[in-house]
Symmetry: C2
Subunit: 364 residues, 2 copies
Amino acid sequence: MAPNTLNDIPTPALLLDIAGMERNIRRMADFFAQSECKLRPHFKAHKTPEIARRQLAAGSCTGLTCATVGEAEIASEFCDDILIANQVIGRDKVSRVAQIARRGIDIKIAVDSIEGLDQIARAAEGAEAEVGLLVDVNVGMPRCGVQPGEPAAALAKRISDTANVRLRGAMGYEGHVVGIPDRTKRAPAAATAMSALSASVQAIRDAGLPCEIVSAGGTGTYDITGRIPGITEIQAGSYVLMDTAYGKLDIPFEQAMWVLGTVVSRPSPLLCVLDSGHKSCTEDHGNPSVRGIEGASVMFLSDEHASLNIPADSQLKAGDRVQLVPSHIDPTINLHDVFYALDGEKVAGVWPIAARGYPEQRGA
Amino acid sequence: MAPNTLNDIPTPALLLDIAGMERNIRRMADFFAQSECKLRPHFKAHKTPEIARRQLAAGSCTGLTCATVGEAEIASEFCDDILIANQVIGRDKVSRVAQIARRGIDIKIAVDSIEGLDQIARAAEGAEAEVGLLVDVNVGMPRCGVQPGEPAAALAKRISDTANVRLRGAMGYEGHVVGIPDRTKRAPAAATAMSALSASVQAIRDAGLPCEIVSAGGTGTYDITGRIPGITEIQAGSYVLMDTAYGKLDIPFEQAMWVLGTVVSRPSPLLCVLDSGHKSCTEDHGNPSVRGIEGASVMFLSDEHASLNIPADSQLKAGDRVQLVPSHIDPTINLHDVFYALDGEKVAGVWPIAARGYPEQRGA
């Protein structure tokens, strides 16, 4: 039995403010409506088809970005242009990508190695399909990607010489930059990162090869990287619901999700304990904040409890509801099966987080 | 299609070594077989019925401990003696507990407030059932619990004067103690914490009230708290599979679970990237360790990647499999839907983590 109002929602639970989310979607779509560069919203942030559908419906989008094959399988049910902005490695995974391609979806994956190229090419051959590839260029973060320039062009050449795959472009994610709060530092850092991507694109084109898609960026750099000539799309995700980490940046998006908890104990005047621990709200970007209670802060999270420091004169007692503002939405959302989507205090929808976790485990 | 061997398991995934787990279960059961005190294994650690059934079958157990109502509902399908070692607050939650009691399950919950007592008593009345209560005593951790001694006895008296609930005893969790690596510091800290619980039990009995169950302890203190006279049961969970945090302690349990990842990139000699990020292996107790690769360590986790520092002469390449040893099993297990239970390299079972997340959301 679905709850009707905020007060009926069992805790802990994810709350989503539909109006705030729609404003975020509109602001981002408006930015890209005036730009050569387009948006490819990142499905990994929320894994929720209902949200992704609304992002796409707002326009200015090329398609969706995904991080995993499980996400892409679910996204392909309602979107026919998908980029897995990640290496896809392993027999099972590449064959699942090939099956998506076989269904006529324009699916592209990132690749940064010969092994990765060979795996996807074999799988595509087996499925009698063609899979698009983007050369993944390392633009400064110690993670995936080939070195910029000639190494990127060499991999592009190899891709172009391989059957059952098609070279579609290049990508480089400046993940080490997107969270820098100060724009005067973030902007030059993004420019440095993107110069490595642009040099790679140039080297690929100099080799006589196509580079139609140049994909980069995130919520923190959408209006920096998104204005660099030659970048064709931005992979932003968090803007749609926001968190306290991105809330420190000067970007025009509002907080539109919270973790609802119940006070289970008020053991002393200065201490209040909620049922929303780090199994409901992750702390990988630091403790969450407390919404709308002056002087309240999270002291620490346990698995199933949030211990809050509160002012001694607070009237909070067992049974009251308290909302936390997550520091990082992607992994927090990944802990829940549904969003309770609110119109004011009314529950207007219970939206499945369909790609939560590893959907393939649920079919195993 | 379930995988047959370790090599077929899609990553990231939770691996469980059945033989190692069975040895841990046996060691713990043997300890309590020789003791007045018994074990109440904590279901929250793994949320997996197949594991809990084996813990109960090994003997020396009073029943199961749960942290949430959702866990208790699932545990009650195969266990008729359950303690929710946590405050249960909220109309929906107390009524679900009352329904478990109505089915004839001997269910008990912790209580530390009049509000909590009144809520469960009303729900039990509505269900024409009786629910057992333990007075939750604060033994030093800044979380739930009444103050020790007279406040505990006062709440016990109030419980005993209330219809539809029954005073069953007291509990106090020394969560601030269980992880202290050095036994010469851990043992006196546990003794201090338990003296607060013992004083409360004495005050309850001095008031002429029963205190049949005295529940405390965890994996780090099972053989310390479990030897303190008057403690009747220990709520240990992590011992069954272990993690690197508890691995620092001098306790006789072996690591029996890992997170399996695939190398997706080897962008440079000293760097290797896996597909097992913190959406598959939490970092709330620090980075996981790398299993069985000399000189390898986790540099950082992203949502979907683990960036490893590795020796330059390592032969690791895209497609190879690497196992991480989690620093904290409870929240790590909570990220997955299944365990791949191994007999050597053979997948002997795919065990549902049935109580993962908030099962009530899956019925919403």
